[in-house]
């Protein structure tokens, strides 16, 4: 009926992402249970299906699904056996939240963590220095250690 499959057996909504499935025929497994559905989509419309195919092997898994009636419980991309992995990411681990970084890729201090100490400038003004040794002595210490260990490079 549409490009979600709301499986009545396990009350899970499987999202059929618009590009992959825009024109697609095949079998997709529900992320919440073992149901396999045959679908045939043309221009984003369900031309045939979803039709349960008990005992048949699926062609693909959804990339994301959730359970709106159970507090929108998420079945995230790459949940084994349930959703297909999403590989095209900038790293092998997906963060989705601020990465608190104290050192750059070459090991020198960069102000990528919070909170930082309060400012003292008038009207929010600020000079052209970052006295890290005074403001964040622990990061400065850590940096000295890194220098000693040879973890700080030019590139």
């Amino acid at each position: 009926m549409c490009d979600i499959i709301w499986c009545k057996d396990c009350d899970t909504v499987n999202y059929l992402d618009p590009y992959y499935f825009w024109n697609w025929e095949g079998k997709i497994k529900c992320a919440g249970c073992e149901n396999v559905y045959y679908i045939y989509m043309i221009q984003g419309h369900m031309y045939k299906g979803p039709e349960k195919k008990p005992g048949e092997k699926e062609d693909i898994l959804p990339v994301y699904a959730d359970k709106p009636n159970e507090g929108y419980e998420e079945i995230l991309p790459g949940t084994e056996g349930k959703t297909r992995p999403y590989n095209c990411l900038p790293r092998h681990i997906y963060l989705g939240e601020a990465d608190m970084v104290k050192f750059s890729a070459r090991g020198r201090p960069v102000r990528g963590w919070r909170p930082q100490p309060p400012s003292t400038g008038v009207a929010g003004s600020c000079g052209f220095t970052w006295d890290i040794q005074k403001l964040s002595p622990e990061v400065w210490e850590e940096y000295q250690e890194k220098v000693k260990k040879g973890e700080v490079g030019d590139w």
């Binding site: 909170p115 003292t120 052209f128």
Partner: protein, 470 residues
């Protein structure tokens, strides 16, 4: 007064000294290194010394038009809304990279990397300029500056009595730029983003794989069209400065980002206009040359790396052999001399049916090879090919390091930052571009500008700040 009977060496063409003579004889590459001298930018003058420009801009498109000036040595002042700042400060890829300054009231709010490179070298002040109380300060800035770039909805600055209609009275030399999506006309109030420009202007319709191959229209990475359009504003601004030198008069420039994306469509408009043919997308191949495209190789160059961008994606190669001898050689290398027999002219091979056969043959050949094997085989044979490079490879490229177009910057406020902008816009032998700092915190230069430049007493500045006007 020069004695006309004497021939002086400095009046003759050619080298004037031993040093210059040696320079003339130097191997070309060595000489290029010497004249551009990456890393020595600060020992040379700035092109736009003495120009002062105001930037009441947001996002990427209009800020970039001013950042170009700032990198060329103009003094640029970015004006942001008090406390909030440019909305671009709140964007960061997948919400994960922020830099945090000293804070006054929002210790948990940093500036996202989405803000990077768009406002380098500028001074940052805050002003709620639609409040009457700030009008005088705004006008003072206008009187002391050469120009301004703004991006508000048309009519907004006019309502606040700071459109060009008003400002040209204060400063007839003033150059005023409005940049936005559409400009005067039926969609004048239509908002715009980079992606809207790409979609609206026809650029997206020619980018990506054709639907017959299963593909969809594809967005140019990130906000390319915003940046690209911003640079064209800079061209117009510099031309206006040139004309002002002669006449003493400023101007107003209205620039539409959506239009700029139509400008780079090449033959699309004339082809449609004359023949009614609508240009389509053609994926990773070229509509006018073959072989000149990107092929997929069977194996990644880094099968054991954890990062999926290395493990799965390092498999694409640009192959270019469109001239007859190049194509002939390529056919021989991939063991398909029959293709050469079949497609002996460019006109033969550039036909869609031929391209499908030829690129398939290349990918079949590459199916059991890694990307670097393919590149090596082809370049060893004297043909043109290169890997499709990713961010890591670009960072590690010795080429860009030597040229100074990627470099680490010890930012005065944020510390160690890698930059790939500014220096990369073009090397200049005598007045090179430079990046002094990536950006500054919201309002970081309020005292410097309001007090030191415009002469307002400190108490006034503090009072404005408390009232949230700056």
């Amino acid at each position: 007064m020069k004695d006309q009977r004497v021939t002086r060496i400095e009046d003759l063409p050619g080298p004037k000294s031993q040093g210059e003579l040696e320079e003339m004889k130097m191997p070309y590459e060595e000489w290029c290194r010497k004249v551009f001298a990456p890393g020595q930018e600060k020992t040379k003058p700035e092109s736009l010394k003495g120009i002062r420009w105001l930037s009441t801009t947001m996002y990427i498109f209009t800020p970039h038009s001013v950042a170009n000036l700032a990198e060329l040595g103009a003094e640029c002042i970015k004006i942001e809304m008090p406390r909030m700042g440019d909305p671009m400060r709140h964007t960061s890829p997948f919400n994960e990279c922020y830099l945090y300054p000293l804070h006054d009231s929002r210790p948990m709010t940093g500036t996202g990397l989405g803000f990077t490179n768009a406002n380098s070298n500028e001074y940052y002040i805050t002003m709620d300029y639609h409040v009457d109380e700030m009008k005088e300060a705004f006008y003072r800035l206008v009187k002391l500056s050469d120009g301004l770039t703004e991006c508000y909805r048309p009519g907004t600055f006019d309502r606040w009595k700071q459109s060009y209609r008003y400002l040209q009275e204060l400063n007839p030399r003033f150059i005023y730029v409005w940049g936005g999506g559409f400009g005067y006309g039926p969609k004048v109030f239509g908002g715009s983003y980079d992606i809207l420009g790409q979609a609206h202007a026809g650029l997206a319709s020619v980018t990506g794989f054709h639907e017959d191959f299963g593909g969809h229209c594809t967005k140019h990475s990130n906000w390319c069209i915003d940046w690209y359009s911003g640079t064209q504003i800079t061209v117009a601004m510099l031309a206006a400065l040139y004309w002002r030198r002669k006449t003493g008069l400023g101007t107003m420039i209205e620039f539409s980002q959506v239009q700029a994306a139509t400008r780079c469509l090449g033959y699309a408009a004339p082809l449609y206009g004359r023949f009614g043919i609508v240009r389509q997308r053609w994926g990773n191949w070229d509509t006018q040359l073959c072989v000149h495209g990107i092929i997929l190789c069977g194996k990644s160059d880094y099968p054991d790396e954890a990062n999926p961008q290395l493990k799965y994606e390092a498999r694409y190669v640009v192959v270019s052999a469109f001239n007859d001898p190049d194509f002939k050689e390529l056919c021989a290398i991939v063991g398909r001399n029959d293709l050469w027999d079949q497609y002996k002219t460019l006109q033969d091979r550039v036909k869609p049916e031929a391209q499908m056969v030829i690129y398939k043959a290349l990918e079949d050949w590459a199916a059991d090879k890694t990307r670097s094997e393919v590149v090596k085989t082809l370049t060893d044979a004297g043909l043109l090919a290169m890997p499709v490079m990713n961010d890591k490879e670009v960072y590690e490229s010795e080429h860009f390091r030597q040229r100074g177009t990627i470099r680490w910057l010890d930012d005065p406020v944020f510390g160690d930052v890698l930059i790939h902008s500014g220096y990369s816009c073009g090397l200049m032998s005598k007045t090179p571009r430079r990046v002094n700092w990536i950006w500054r915190p919201v309002g970081a230069d309020n005292v410097k500008i309001y007090h030191e430049m415009l002469g307002y007493p400190m108490s006034q500045v503090e009072q404005w700040y408390e009232k949230n006007l700056i």
